[in-house]
Point group: C2
């Protein structure tokens, strides 16, 4: 059996530690691991399957002999180092936004467009967290009934903004509970001009603003969804629009997804619910009588995307609501990245062509 | 100048204390006040304009000589006692859901359908908190361009569930920050079968479930919006649909409101923004460059409805997004109630006919 030398770039962050854990639990036969990070974190000791691994500073030469790179160290780091890794024969799965919209780079959610992996040139991009869980829930519906339009409002957890931002929200919460004024140095955008508290508040800004008043996070949801679903030509005319809001939750994004199907005659609430019980990566939690619906605190630590509150808009035939929750650090980041790597290995798309 | 004997029913609750404060600050000439509550709270001392007022147990005879009742003691109490108050010549503004859908009872948001007050038979209903702020923001747009459809997702603060629920969320937050398990005895519905924590979580259930998978809160947003806007016959075909989610915020509901105008040719993002700067009860906070947008912590304690993030859905002509925030205990409850009372006094609709 072929075994793989795997490097994790950005091993010490909130996603990095989960990349290690997901790789430990994966079906990928690992020959060796390298944990790479900035010089600041070099020398730190982590573990892989119980064995100590010392974090090394990431340089182009770090990738010599590496077959597979899982990257989550920020867009600038990926832009600088992943082409170096590819030059040295590695295949890279990148969790940053650096290459997502590059037409040469497949943007993959295995439940939706696994086949796009075949077209890779060394780099495969992992979509934005809020996009992934939405397309996992929509894909079985799109396949069965087609999709005309999607209108999504997100309720995004703070861990998506990184460990520091997460710590800051917890500090703010404690300040507020102590009757003190909340202090803020990170939200809504690290390095931005203004900072607002997130604890016991709502921030309708994730990432910077673009033209037309949309934030970059909203832009990502719109354009990444289209890129992922456009791999199927039937999906070429899906309209997508979004509002992204940061909420004071640690882990687990929520989304109200309102969608219109093409085949309104054949679709129904019950049929959509039934589809979702069989859909890969989806767990349907939808029983109003038992007060069963997805909640972030119960999605934490799980790889699945949870869907509930499926309802027809009774005044608009063909239009439905659903409520989608997933662990933004797992399916939204680390798990989807490792899942892509598993598929690359299964399909013999790692290190077979370049060597 | 005519002066009024005013009774506040449910004076000791989260809304009740704000009813007292809003009445103190109102233009209503108050001759006397009575604070009424259950026998449990009777004897408690509160204040009105610095003078002590002892809370009395509410009975039918409490309303003898009362001109104006402001009620927020729960639907069952309103159902039992307000007809008794009306019998004794009082006009009642009711903040509970008891009479909202009664065709004989005007359901009023002064910025939208003040004229409906003229048709009262002693009781005027104050709409649900999440409905009020939405219609205040939508009305200037409806007047200018007409409205075809509204799709709203709410981010509702815990204070809407009452003081006890609010305290419980704060206790849960402290438990979580201490690394303890969160305990829950109230959310999502007091007296319900299952209870879940709200702190650092999202609960896509507000109030009980109805047919079709909608919650009663969602039902209220749909049907109350129609009743309020239907006072204008041009509005008779507005479609409304909603998803209501409770979020771990103390005060201030957020709403993503997606709407389609009738006059798509004449509407534009800029025109809608301009309308909102002049609209009664609305403060436009919409400047992406300055990171200016509505947030619950800054809406707290204010009577206005704050609107921002106005954007066109570029793929769907005539469709727009906005983000609406208001203090759910003020415009959503106590202020709208007192504002209705001010209008009744202005229009000489209190105690003029029945005496």
């Amino acid at each position: 059996m072929r075994e793989y030398n795997v490097a994790i770039l950005g091993a010490t962050g909130a996603v990095g530690t989960r990349l290690i854990q997901q790789l430990e639990q994966s079906t990928i036969p690992v020959k060796s691991v390298k944990f790479l990070a900035s010089s600041r974190s070099a020398g730190k000791e982590l573990a892989f399957k119980g064995e100590p691994v010392v974090v090394e500073e990431a340089t182009p030469d770090s990738f010599e002999g590496v077959d597979l790179v899982l990257a989550s160290a920020g867009g600038a780091v990926s832009k600088r180092l992943l082409p170096e890794a590819v030059k040295r024969g590695a295949v890279c799965v990148d969790n940053t936004s650096a290459f997502r919209m590059d037409p040469e780079v497949p943007l993959v959610v295995p439940e939706v467009n696994e086949d796009a992996l075949e077209r890779h040139h060394g780099i495969i991009a992992n979509p934005n967290c809020s996009t992934i869980q939405m397309v996992v829930a929509l894909e079985p519906i799109r396949k069965a009934f087609g999709l005309k339009q999607v209108i999504v409002s997100t309720y995004q957890a703070t861990s998506g903004a990184g460990q520091q931002a997460w710590n800051e929200m917890n500090e703010q919460a404690q300040q507020h509970l102590n009757g003190e004024k909340m202090t803020s140095t990170i939200y809504p955008v690290k390095g931005g001009e203004k900072h607002y508290p997130l604890a016991f508040n709502l921030l309708p800004q994730i990432d910077v603003f673009e033209d037309g008043g949309y934030t970059h996070e909203e832009w990502k949801m719109i354009h990444e969804t289209k890129k992922i679903m456009l791999d199927d030509m039937d999906a070429k005319d899906i309209k997508v629009t979004a509002t992204c809001v940061r909420v004071p939750v640690g882990i687990g994004h929520g989304e109200t997804v309102y969608f219109e199907v093409k085949d309104e005659k054949n679709a129904s609430r019950e049929k959509i619910q039934r589809l979702l019980t069989k859909a890969p990566g989806v767990v349907l939690q939808d029983d109003p009588e038992k007060q069963l619906y997805p909640q972030p605190i119960y999605a934490e630590g799980k790889r699945d995307t949870f869907v509930g509150r499926v309802r027809a808009d009774e005044e608009n035939p063909g239009n439905y609501h659903m409520w989608v929750v997933s662990d933004n650090l797992l399916k939204g980041a680390a798990w989807n990245t490792v899942q892509i790597a598993e598929k690359l290995v299964e399909k013999r798309l790692v290190g077979e062509t370049k060597r």
